[in-house]
Structures are given as C-alpha cells and as structure tokens.
C-alpha cells in the first residue's frame, strides 16, 4: 500500500493514520430490491488497476475519503471527501 495518502483536508499523511473500509460503492435506495442489496453488502469487483476505496482519516481529520488506488502499482491517483460520492471520479 502507498506509504503516504493525500487527504484533501490534511495533506499528504502516513498511511498508518488511515483505516480502509473497502470498495467505495453507493448505498442502494431503500426500495432497490434484494439483488441490489445483496450486491452492495457482499459482491465486490477485484479489478486490476484503479479502484475507488473508502478510507477513514482516523488519526487525522476523521473524515471519510474516497481514495482512487491502483491495485497493481499502489499509486494513488485521487483522493476526495466521501460526501462527494455522487460525483464522478475526477
């Protein structure tokens, strides 16, 4: 994993300050149906390349972020506040 993670609020910080949750996928609507909910809770892509993940700046600003990380090179392409989950990846 990257040694440093750029936090949009705090700048570049050591990865030890962060906790990862997993794929940054939006929560389905309440009436989305069983398949959508099952997919949200259990099914994950395992892509080779860029991947959006939720990271929590636990020992920093305590904001949840969406970090776009390359699963092969570990490069970080982007990091933004998770409140912007509805918006397209920059």
């Amino acid at each position: 994993m990257a040694s440093l993670i750029p936090c949009p609020h705090c700048g570049s910080r050591p990865k030890e300050e962060f906790v990862v949750k997993g794929a940054a996928i939006p929560r389905p609507a309440p009436d989305a149906g069983a398949d959508a909910w099952f997919g949200y809770v259990y099914l994950r892509d395992n892509p080779r390349g860029p991947y959006d993940e939720f990271w929590h700046h636990t020992s920093g600003c305590r904001r949840w972020l969406i970090v776009t990380r390359d699963t092969v090179t570990h490069d970080i392409y982007a990091s933004r506040d998770a409140a912007k989950i509805g918006e397209a990846t920059p």
Binding site: M1, S3, Y40, R63, W64
Partner: protein
C-alpha cells in the same frame, strides 16, 4: 609476527591508539580502524568458522557484504551477535568474540570437512534427515543446531533506546561515494532540500581507499572538501552511519541510523538507533558496485581477499595483506591493487589475468600472466600456496595472501524492492536495475558505469535531471579531473574456472560450493528460485550479496543459456539486517501500548480494587475485603449488596458520543433498528444498532438531553468502532443531514449507582427531586449537584435489573463525587462493585453483551425482535435482515441454563445436547455464551444460544465440555433469572 601495519599512510590516527580483545586476546589498533582492519593489522586473518563445514574463514571484504567475519561484540543486554567486523568501528576496550566454533576457534570439533561432507551436499536437509521421522526433533535438529548457526542473541533486555522519525526532501541521495557526493552537492547548490545518507560513519566510500588523485588532491582529501561544503549548506542533511534498507510505495525509503558508536557498559540508556522513513520527491541510488569473488578451489581460505578490499585495507588503513601476494583478476582493478601493493613494498608474486587479450598497461615490476587462472589455493588456517593454471599446466606459487576480482555487480537492491526485476546486460556483464522506475534513478557504478570521472559525470547528470523534473536548474559544475586511475571496464565474466580440484565456494556464509549448484541443476532444480532453496545459496544473513550473481552465472553455464534466462531471485527489504530494537522503536515495555485509566481509577484503587486489562483499559474487577478468601467471595458479597442495599460501579469506560444537529433525531432513527424519532427530551432509550448485513452490531442507551442534543453510550470495546461507523453514515451515506458527532468518553466520569437504596443515596447530592414520578425509569437529564456547585448528567437506567442510575460528572470531579457518594451512602450500606459483579448482575437479569452479540445473531435470536421497527422505511441493516435464513425457525435463540444439581457447574463455551444425545456435531444444539455463579439463584447459571431455545424452556438437556470431559445435566429456562416482570426497575 609479520609487520602488517605499514609505517606510514592511511586515514588512521596513529596518535590515538586503542586496545581491544579478540576471543580474549589483547590487541592494538588506532582510531579510524574498523574491527576488521585492526584484526588484520594484528595478523588475525582467521576470524571464524564456516556455517556447515566449520572451515576456517578470514576477512573477505571491507564492507557491508562481508559473509565471514561475523563476531559478537559487547556484553550483556548490549551484546550484538553477527556483527560484521568490516562495519564495526574500533573503540577502546572493544571485546569481540568469534562465532560458530566449539570449543574454540583454533580447535573445532565440528571441522568435518573430510568426514561428514558427503552427507552435506545440496539438498541435504531433504535427503539425509528424512528417516526415521521421530529422529528429526530428538536427534538431527539439536545436533544441527549445535553444529551450524551464527551468534547467539542475548536473553537480557537491551537497555538502550530507539526512535522513529520521518524526513521529507526534494532529493534523497543514497551512497556518499564520488557519485553521491557530487549529485548531492549539485542539488544542494541549487538550493533544494537534499538528504544524503551513507551506511558508513566516514563519508566518501571508496574515495577513502583510492590512490588516484582527483583535481590534484588525494582522493580522500577531495572527498573531504565535498563533505565540508555539503555540511555548510543549510538545506542539505548528511546522515552518516545510516543504511537505506528499503524502497517503498510513494517513494518512501526506510533507513536505519546508528546514532551512537560505542556505548560504555556503565552508561545509562542511550539513544543508539533511529528508524527513518524518508519521503523523497526524487531519489538517486549511488550505492556503487560489489566486487565479485572468483570461484576457485580454496577461495575461502583465510588470506584470500577481494581485490578492492585488500586495496582498502592497504590504502585507507595502512595494513598490508602479507609479504607476498598473488592477484587473480578478470579486469583492470587487479592492476590498481598490484600497483598500490608494490608501492607499499609488498611483493606481488604475479598478476594473473584470465584475459588473453588484456590491453591494460601496467607500470609495476610484478610478473604478468595472461590467460591464466588460480585453480586452487592451499593452506589450512592461512593460505600458503596457489596453483597457477595456464593452458593445462600447473605452476605452484608460494604466497601468503591472494586477491581476487571477478568484475563488479552494481548494488541495485533497493531499485528492485517494489517488484521490478533486474535485467542482465551482456555489455556490463552484470545485472542492472529494472527499466521504468519512477522518481528513482541509479547513478555511477550502481548504474554500471566505470571510472571515477564517469561516475562523477553521472552523478551530475542525474541530479540535474531530477531537479529539472522539479522545475529547478542546477548551476554548472565541472567534472573533476582524475589522474592515475586503472578504470575497470566491464569484461567477459568468468564463471567456472578450469582445473579446480578442491571445494570452490560460491556462497561463503551458507557454505555452498560449485558442485552443489551443478548437483541442483542435474537433479532438476535449475530455476534459480529452486536452486536457491535446494542449495541454500543466497539464503544467509548476507542474502547472497557476493554469491547470487556467481550462482546464476554457474547455473546459466551448466544449462548452456544466458544469465538473462536464469533470472534472479527476488530482492526484498531489508538490504542488511535491521535490529528488532530499531523496528520496535519506543513501543516496548511500559510503552508497548498506551494505558487507559478511568477518571475513577484512583478512587477504585484506594477502595481496594483488583484491576483487569480489557483492551487498553484497566477496569476494577472486584473490591476485596481483608477476611475474604478469594475473588468469588468478594463478588458474591458485592452482588448481594446491590440486590439488598446499593452499590457504586465505575462505568466511565463505556463509549460516550455526543450527537448534535437539527437532523440528529433523523440520523439516530436511521442508524438504530428501533425507532428514535419520537424520543422525548429528558428520556433515555435502549438502542439496537445493526450492521448492514442485518446482524446486531452494538447496543447501548441514547438519551435526548435537548431538542438537538443526544448522548449515546456504546459498549467499551466498540466505542471507537461505533464512532467510526456513525461518521461513515453521516459523512458518506447521508451528508445532507445536519449532524455532528464528538467522542466524549474521556470528558465524563460515569458511575452506576444501583440497588433498592440508590435513590436515597443519590438524593443526598442531586439537587432535583428523584421521586419516582419526577424522575421515572429512563429519565435522562442535566442535573445540578451539591446545591448547584456542579453540573452533571443523570440517567435512570439499569444493567442489574435493580432500581439504578448512572451519574456522569466532568472527569476531573469524578473521584471527589464518587467519594461523596460513598460517604452519603454509608448509612444505606453502599459498597463499590466491580465488573465481575456487574457481569453476574446482568446475567441474572438476562441482559446480553458481546458474548451474545457475537456477529452471528440477529435481534430475534436475542429475544429483541419486537424492538426492530416495522414502520421505518430505511435503517442500517433493514434490507438484509428480511432475508429468509435470518428468520428461520431453527435459528439459535437466547435461553437461560441452570444445572439440575445446584452443586454441579458448567462453563461458557460448553455445548448443549439433548438430554441423552451423544456429543456429535449433528446433535449440537448450541452453546453457553455467558456463565457465572449466581448468589441469587444459588448455583451456576448461564445464558446460551440454543436452537429454538425460546420454545424449549423447561427442557432437560446435557451440557458437554469436551475439553474437560464434563457432562452436566441441566435445564433450559427463561433467560431472566430475577424480577421477570421488571417491578424493581420501576420502583
């Protein structure tokens, strides 16, 4: 004894003599010596025994790759096994002990060269000790462990200190030879933040050993000039004795700095190591090249040395290798050594060059042999003679020292730490760093470049390129002029040498010789990764720094392919061993992890609490009284006193979260499974939080203290997790809600005051009327205390099933308030109680904890189905909770368990079987989740998760404990053992 130390020359300080001992033998050296150079100066070439064959071994190198000269230095907790004598600076009083010999270095009973060696061939671990299996643990392993092995770690605690730091820079330069010094200076003059690290205490690397002149000065003086200017630049940070050990993601480098040389035995704890993480925008690897040994017979006999190392001992430390030396080389570097040896008055028996067509012009007197080889060296504890093989004929040369040079392998380790593979270059006759590196470049001989001037030019060019990427232009700087240099251009590598009769070592540290590799290839282990494991080549603490390339070359030759086709093994951190002390830093002993103490800790301690560690917390378990014989007696008393009178218990470690905002109610309604929207101000509610998969996550109470202000409690262990979860929900799922969260766990001291007399106790200090009507069950309010002197929070909630309250006061007032409660409660018989009694009280009341909320239970399993709101359109966990399997009738359900015979007992974790069923997996009905002795019931009681348990109250079952072979007849009962209609709560 021969006069090994030359009368003049070298960078040693002859005015500062130092005394030291080797295996107890007193010796002398000078300030500026390494232990290795001082040993050589004392004629002690023989310094250790080899790993497998116990052959005498000498000092092979003058640097970090040293495989042989490993000694134990220092005493007690400060002893350092496997110290490379070549890297250890000499100090007054140093005591070095040789390793891997028994009973002594000179007379070793394990010297089995001729006797056992047929059994120690490649793969011997797999072949020899296979049968009988029982012999492995009892016979083979202890013998091998005694015979083989390195130094022993001390059992004493290391008294010294270590720390960890970050550094940030524009340019990191690793290696302070000519390449690194020039690169750092160029970038430093341009004003950028530069960090230059080198594993040696003296900067300059091989410039300190060179006899060439640079810009009209001796090479070492030239290095000193560069270092002096670097030291004057405020934007340049020089880190001496700092080994860059790894390259990590984000261009972060790991390095370990040895901050203190020698620490005297009498010194107190001293900072000796600093682990650096260096975040560099750009980095230049100027780590030089490692000279390759030549694989001739007896190439491990003491007195056989790498040519560059011999030159280093001669020029830098003024130590002659002996009186008569043979130089065996495949390239021009052997001539540089021969010239320096002759200048120092050492007789060079011959310069034996494997090349027929060598074009080098040698100005010395020594005999030059072209197209010749040393096929074997002879001698026991010191080399006496070599066989010079030329066109099939052998000539004997009597010598007392041999230098060898098989060409140079660039030190590219760090460049390969992030997955890149080295690539073989025929032009360089070496493996070079992978292509396509980002933000890291190699320069100088690490990049396969030969010659001091070319290295300097490479350093300049790479610094300029790195800074250009950062948008900075480096000021012009001239490439220094070098005189009298034998520049070792790459030559055809020499893998197998003709005429070899005796063991020719490839891996000195793991005792792997040429025939082992041939055997590995013949037996099918021809891939380098297999051959490595089969022969153990490259698997010692030096990780094959000297041996890997020769091994690959020999395998390639045996297979008739290029080294490119054999590949290399994987390079991983650490470049050289790093001590656990440095990696642990300050995290050991009392500082291993933080200690969390409740604001009521001291109050509990002075009332006789025994503490138990739960996570980072120290919780009061019980409060012993003098006459009590064991903890159970104390706990029983505390439980009975709560039921009869009143008790006070520290519950400060519960997680406490303050939630504010216009939408706080809506937010809570979405994170809890039960309804929260209509919770009135001044009321508490038990809340059940699910995970999105429908299983219960945590429980606790949340109180509405004002329209937009809530106070949530969580279980102790989940305090951090719940806050993180709530933050996720607020920030990510529903950012449109106006809600703010803050952990206030440490702001409040919280105490439970429980028991029928708790109201009477608290009424003494709480200003408000606590009458049942005025402050009913689940009331929760800001209160004033002690006639308005203090503000606190009071909750009428109960974990014990008794009339009970929880009182929170600002943390700093905790102890005095608890004292006051004890004081006013005296007449009511109040006693403190601990978490053990708390646990008994809650099991008696059938309250669940994370023993039951174990990640596999849904609300219905715990008897809490009615809590789950059916009216809410959405809450965390709602959608997955409706899955078929989670409402299956056969699911485990919470139930109480009592033994039929009150004198018998069972434990948590024991399984429930039908009354006379055999203990099989098919017959398993569930298991005991919590158990305790209940003084109220008069026997052990338990809570259990049992299939269809709610419908089985009254059934006789068997409790089976397979670990203790216990079968206990028991009965399933209602999980509420006390006051099932909850009269006490509302009293």
């Amino acid at each position: 004894m021969k006069p090994y130390r030359l009368a003049k020359g070298g960078l040693i300080d002859r005015k500062q003599p130092l005394s030291f001992t080797f295996d107890g033998k007193p010796m002398k050296g000078f300030s500026g010596d390494t232990l290795a150079s001082a040993l050589l100066a004392n004629g002690q070439q023989f310094v250790g025994r080899s790993f497998k064959y116990h052959r005498p071994r000498g000092i092979l190198t003058a640097g970090a790759a040293e495989p042989n000269a490993l000694v134990t230095v220092g005493q007690g907790g400060r002893s350092e096994p496997n110290t490379r004598a070549t890297m250890q600076e000499l100090y007054e009083g140093l005591e070095a002990i040789s390793q891997n010999r028994w009973p002594s270095l000179a007379y070793d009973v394990g010297a089995v060269d001729g006797l056992l060696s047929p059994f120690l061939s490649a793969g011997f671990y797999y072949k020899t000790f296979m049968w009988p299996a029982a012999f492995w643990e009892r016979v083979y392993e202890p013998i091998i462990r005694k015979a083989a092995g390195l130094g022993k770690a001390s059992y004493e605690t290391d008294p010294d200190l270590y720390e960890k730091c970050w550094a940030h820079c524009d340019l990191l330069v690793i290696g302070a030879g000519i390449t690194g010094l020039i690169a750092a200076l160029s970038a430093g003059r341009a004003g950028k933040r530069v960090v230059l690290i080198d594993e040696n205490a003296a900067l300059g690397a091989y410039l300190l050993s060179e006899s060439s002149r640079i810009d009209g000065q001796p090479a070492a003086t030239f290095a000193g000039t560069l270092v002096a200017e670097l030291e004057d630049l405020p934007n340049v940070d020089l880190k001496r004795a700092t080994t860059g050990f790894g390259w990590y993601d984000g261009n972060v480098f790991g390095a370990v700095e040895r901050t203190a040389g020698h620490v005297a035995a009498s010194s107190g704890p001293t900072l000796v190591g600093r682990l650096w993480r260096i975040a560099a925008k750009k980095a230049i690897l100027a780590t030089g090249a490692e000279e390759r040994p030549l694989v001739f017979g007896g190439n491990d006999i003491p007195g056989v040395t790498m040519a560059g190392a011999m030159r280093s001992y001669l020029n830098r430390f003024a130590v002659a290798p002996g009186a008569r030396t043979a130089v065996f080389t495949t390239n021009d570097s052997g001539y540089a050594l021969a010239a320096d040896l002759e200048a120092a008055g050492v007789d060079v028996a011959a310069v034996i060059d494997s090349r027929v067509d060598a074009s080098v012009v040698y100005g010395g007197k020594a005999r030059l042999v072209r197209g010749g080889y040393i096929s074997d060296a002879h001698g026991g504890k010191a080399v006496r003679r070599v066989d010079l093989w030329r066109e099939g004929r052998i000539e004997r040369l009597d010598v007392d020292s041999v230098a060898m040079s098989g060409g140079f392998s660039p030190v590219i380790h760090l460049a390969c730490h992030r997955g890149g593979r080295p690539r073989w270059s025929d032009a360089h006759a070496a493996f070079l760093a992978p292509n396509g590196l980002t933000d890291l470049v190699l320069a100088g001989s690490a990049a396969g470049i030969s010659g001091l001037a070319a290295c300097a030019a490479s350093g300049l060019a790479q610094a300029a390129a790195a800074l250009a990427d950062l948008g900075v232009t480096t000021p012009p700087m001239a490439v220094p002029k070098v005189e009298h240099e034998y520049s070792p251009q790459p030559t055809k590598p020499l893998w197998s040498i003709p005429g070899v009769k005796t063991k020719a070592f490839v891996d000195f540290q793991n005792d792997v010789h040429r025939q082992d590799l041939g055997l590995a290839v013949r037996e099918g282990y021809e891939h380098v990764e297999l051959a490595k494991r089969y022969t153990t080549n490259g698997m010692a603490t030096d990780q094959g720094k000297l041996s890997n390339v020769n091994a690959i070359g020999l395998i390639a030759e045996a297979r008739g392919v290029s080294p490119a086709d054999v590949g290399t093994t994987t390079f991983r951190p650490f470049y050289t061993p790093v001590s656990f002390g440095a990696l642990a830093g300050t995290s050991h002993g009392a500082q291993f992890q933080p200690v969390r103490k409740s604001p009521l800790h001291d109050w509990a301690a002075k009332n006789g609490a025994a503490f138990v560690e739960t996570g980072l917390w120290y919780r009061s378990s019980w409060f012993s009284r003098p006459a009590e014989k064991g903890w159970r007696e104390s706990v029983d008393r505390e439980v009975l006193n709560v039921r009869a009178n009143a008790g006070i218990c520290d519950v400060s470690m519960l997680g406490k979260i303050e939630i504010r905002g216009v939408d706080a109610a809506e937010f809570l309604n979405r994170v809890y499974a039960n309804a929260f929207l209509k919770l009135p101000v001044g009321k508490a509610r038990y809340g059940l939080m699910l995970r999105e998969d429908g299983f219960v996550y945590d429980d606790g109470t949340t109180s509405r203290l004002a329209e937009d202000r809530y106070f949530m409690t969580t279980t102790t262990a989940y305090a951090a997790g719940v806050l993180t979860h709530l933050e996720f929900c607020a920030q990510t799922l529903w950012p449109e809600l106006d809600v703010r969260l803050a952990s206030v766990t440490d702001q409040w001291a919280q105490m439970a005051v429980a028991g029928p007399k708790s109201r009477a106790v608290l009424q003494h200090i709480v200003d408000a009327d606590l009458d049942n009507l005025a402050f009913p069950f689940l009331a929760a309010q800001d209160v004033s205390l002690f006639d308005g002197k203090l503000k606190g929070l009071l909750f009428r909630i109960s974990f014990s099933g008794e009339l009970a309250y929880e009182l929170a006061v600002p943390a700093g007032f905790g102890e005095s308030v608890a004292d006051a409660v004890m004081e006013v409660g005296k007449v009511h018989g109040i006693q403190p109680y601990g978490v053990e009694a708390l646990n008994v009280l809650r099991i008696e009341k059938g309250h669940v904890t994370h023993n039951e909320i174990d990640g596999t239970t849904v609300p219905a399993d715990l008897g809490l189905a009615k809590m789950v709101s059916s009216g809410k359109r959405d809450f965390i966990g709602k959608h997955m909770l409706s899955r078929e399997g989670l409402s299956d009738r056969g699911r485990p359900q919470l139930v109480g368990v009592v033994p039929i015979d009150p004198a018998s007992s069972f434990r948590s974790g024991a399984h429930i079987l039908e009354k006379s069923a055999a203990p099989t997996l098919e017959n398993d009905q569930g298991y005991i989740t919590s158990s305790c002795y209940s003084p109220h019931v008069g026997s052990v009681i338990g809570l259990a998760l049992v299939k269809r348990g709610a419908a089985r109250h009254g059934e006789e079952v068997t409790v089976w404990n397979g670990l203790r072979s216990e079968l206990t007849p028991a009965r399933l009962v209602d999980p509420v053992f006390i006051d099932p209609v909850h009269e006490k709560l509302h009293a």
